[in-house]
């Protein structure tokens, strides 16, 4: 019965085990929402991963065909509910691109301040949940304590703590209360040392490095091929950030701001950053780098907010009033992607002359990031699944729309 040796060249000795199908989700502590991942496991080793989405599908695009552009704004908050300001910004800029309008200096700077503050909050949630998924509870408490302070600032400016509906196409609902900028700067000053604590607790922690370095490696070509964007793409070494390389309407917002895109191009980070060095085990594109890129982006966002506050007080003129409720949309299509914390958030509006858009398409960043999951999770252990999922930092509201 022994097949001749020549035909089969490699003989692998292995204890015969049969495989098991496990449902990780839709109700699971580390799937960041209602994502169901079916794992084909052989013992602890995962041989195949098939994500199932759609549990949170509210057909946001169908609803958009019945509401005018301003009425639809609250729906964009509910897409990526951890970064609602950036969602509003994306929608507002797409409408302004369709209408061909531009906003005043003051509004532009206020938009930068608010968007970057929300990016800090979103990255804090990502870092906290990453620590939680790896088993250490404390970073989660520290990051949420800081995020509460940002959310208090947002509550003062627009009254809501999670779904703000603040940045309307054409302008903002209301100007910031007096003393708001002072409180912003106070928050930023006391936030600096907290970042060093987080780095000490997680980034340079030996167990954290062992759990994340060289796990879920996403090579740059595969990242581009699967359309991954944001920190996931930059952590794979692709130097691409819409705030600098995007369409003119996006890059104009950041005119006059000095900041840096964080990406380990050529295997190295820009060397001005004062934070813990890259451990030797880490490979460009692994879970550790995705976490590290987000932590450095928080620092860049802090620089942007400080510059925004100075430019806002220096800028003259008034805050713009938003467009009318029943603003007529011109015939034609406009598609615009903006740099949201989780990746590039694309909105497409097809206008047909009436106030209600004919068709709205929402391109979600996490939707493409999660599509690369089966590729990078082949042959990892079950414990690594939650590490990789946490490093992709997905939000199901945005994926399922």
């Amino acid at each position: 019965m022994q097949a001749e040796r020549a035909q089969s060249d490699t003989v692998e000795f292995d204890v015969r085990t049969d495989e098991m199908l496990i449902n990780m989700g839709p109700q699971h502590p580390s799937t960041h929402g209602v994502l169901r991942v079916v794992l084909r496991t052989d013992g602890e080793v995962v041989s195949e991963v098939t994500p199932h989405i759609g549990y949170l599908h509210r057909s946001a695009e169908k609803i958009a065909e019945k509401l005018t552009v301003r009425q639809y704004l609250p729906y964009t908050d509910r897409l990526d509910y951890l970064a609602a300001m950036n969602m509003n910004l994306g929608w507002a800029l797409t409408v302004e691109k369709l209408l061909g309008q531009r906003v005043s200096e003051k509004t532009r700077h206020l938009r930068v301040i608010v968007a970057e503050l929300n990016r800090i909050a979103s990255h804090l949630v990502a870092a906290g949940c990453f620590g939680l998924d790896l088993g250490s509870f404390t970073p989660f408490m520290w990051t949420f304590r800081e995020r509460e302070k940002i959310v208090d600032l947002f509550e003062e400016i627009c009254g809501a703590r999670l779904t703000y509906s603040y940045l309307l196409p054409g302008g903002v609902t209301a100007g910031p209360p007096d003393g708001w900028f002072g409180r912003c700067e106070a928050f930023l000053d006391q936030f600096d040392p907290v970042i060093d604590e987080l780095h000490a607790l997680l980034t340079s922690n030996a167990i954290f490095i062992k759990r994340t370095a060289d796990i879920g490696v996403l090579p740059p070509e595969m990242a581009i091929d699967y359309g991954c964007t944001g920190p996931v793409l930059r952590a794979s070494g692709v130097d691409w950030d819409l705030r600098r390389d995007g369409e003119p309407i996006c890059t104009e917002m950041y005119d006059g701001y000095t900041w840096q895109v964080i990406a380990p191009t050529g295997g190295r980070y820009p060397d001005d950053h004062p934070y813990p060095p890259v451990p030797p085990e880490a490979v460009v594109g692994d879970s550790w780098h995705r976490f590290y890129v987000r932590m450095l982006e928080v620092v860049q966002s802090m620089y942007l907010v400080r510059q925004g506050i100075e430019k806002y007080s220096a800028a003259d003129g008034e805050l713009d009033k938003p467009i009318k409720i029943k603003e007529k949309l011109p015939k034609g299509e406009a598609y615009l992607e903006t740099e949201a914390p989780k990746g590039q958030m694309g909105f497409m509006i097809v206008g047909d002359g009436s106030a209600v858009p004919w068709r709205v398409r929402i391109r979600s960043s996490s939707f493409c990031n999660i599509s690369a999951l089966p590729e990078i999770c082949r042959g990892v252990l079950i414990a690594d699944m939650s590490a990789i999922l946490a490093s992709l930092d997905i939000v199901l509201g945005e994926i399922d729309r």
Binding site: M1, Q2, S8, T10, V11, E12, F13, D14, V15, R16
Partner: protein
């Protein structure tokens, strides 16, 4: 009301548990429950040793048998408890055969037990046992050091002669049972490694570029 002899009470209780669960091992269908009954009956035997004051032996029994059986339970039973093994159905014929062999063995044991003189005369033994039991709990500290004795026995010292001046204590050149003990354990390790090696099925990869190796063993 004469004093209740706790020692015999517990002895009977533990003996009943040991035998009861031993029977349960045979009767129970589900294989995991069977293994659990086995573990409980061995633990009851360990209890008997503790009752007899030999706590070193009791602890050894607990560690070796109950721990060992548990590992058997985990890897042998749970991971393969699928398919026919899970609930074994025993036909009528096998029952009869088992009963016959069981009764025969029991008869032999009974005959051997009754014929030894030391265990005769339950009345006499009871009296002797009571004082020992009464002193059992408070005299624990002054009791002989079982572990020390065993250790010395292994090293070849005749500890029973220590208080005698005339007989030699050391066995002169003999190193006791330690060497034999070690040889057996080395053999056991070799046997285990061999078994593990044989248990591995050969999985042949037809052509290297096909990603999933097709598990097919001769």
């Amino acid at each position: 009301m004469d004093t209740i002899n706790w020692h015999s009470c517990f002895f009977l209780l533990l003996a009943a548990i040991a035998c009861g669960f031993a029977v349960a091992v045979v009767v129970v269908g589900d294989i995991v429950r069977m293994a659990c009954c086995l573990v409980v009956s061995l633990a009851a035997v360990a209890g008997l040793f503790f009752l007899a004051g030999a706590e070193f032996l009791g602890a050894a029994q607990l560690m070796v048998y109950v721990g060992g059986t548990m590992v058997l339970l985990i890897f042998g039973v749970m991971l393969t408890a699928r398919g026919p093994l899970v609930s074994m159905k025993i036909g009528g014929g096998q029952w009869v055969l088992a009963l016959v062999i069981g009764v025969a063995l029991f008869a032999v044991l009974l005959q051997a037990a009754t014929s030894t003189s030391a265990w005769n005369g339950p009345k006499a033994n009871d009296q002797a046992a009571v004082p020992a039991a009464a002193k059992q709990d408070d005299g624990a500290a002054a009791e002989q050091d079982a572990a020390g004795q065993l250790g010395l026995g292994l090293l070849g010292v005749r500890e029973d002669r220590l208080h005698r001046q005339d007989k030699p204590v050391l066995l002169g050149g003999m190193s006791g049972y330690l060497l034999a003990f070690e040889i057996i354990s080395v053999h056991l390790v070799v046997v285990l490694v061999g078994a593990a090696y044989l248990a591995r099925a050969r999985r042949r990869i037809r052509n290297p570029e096909s990603r999933a190796p097709n598990p097919e063993s001769p």
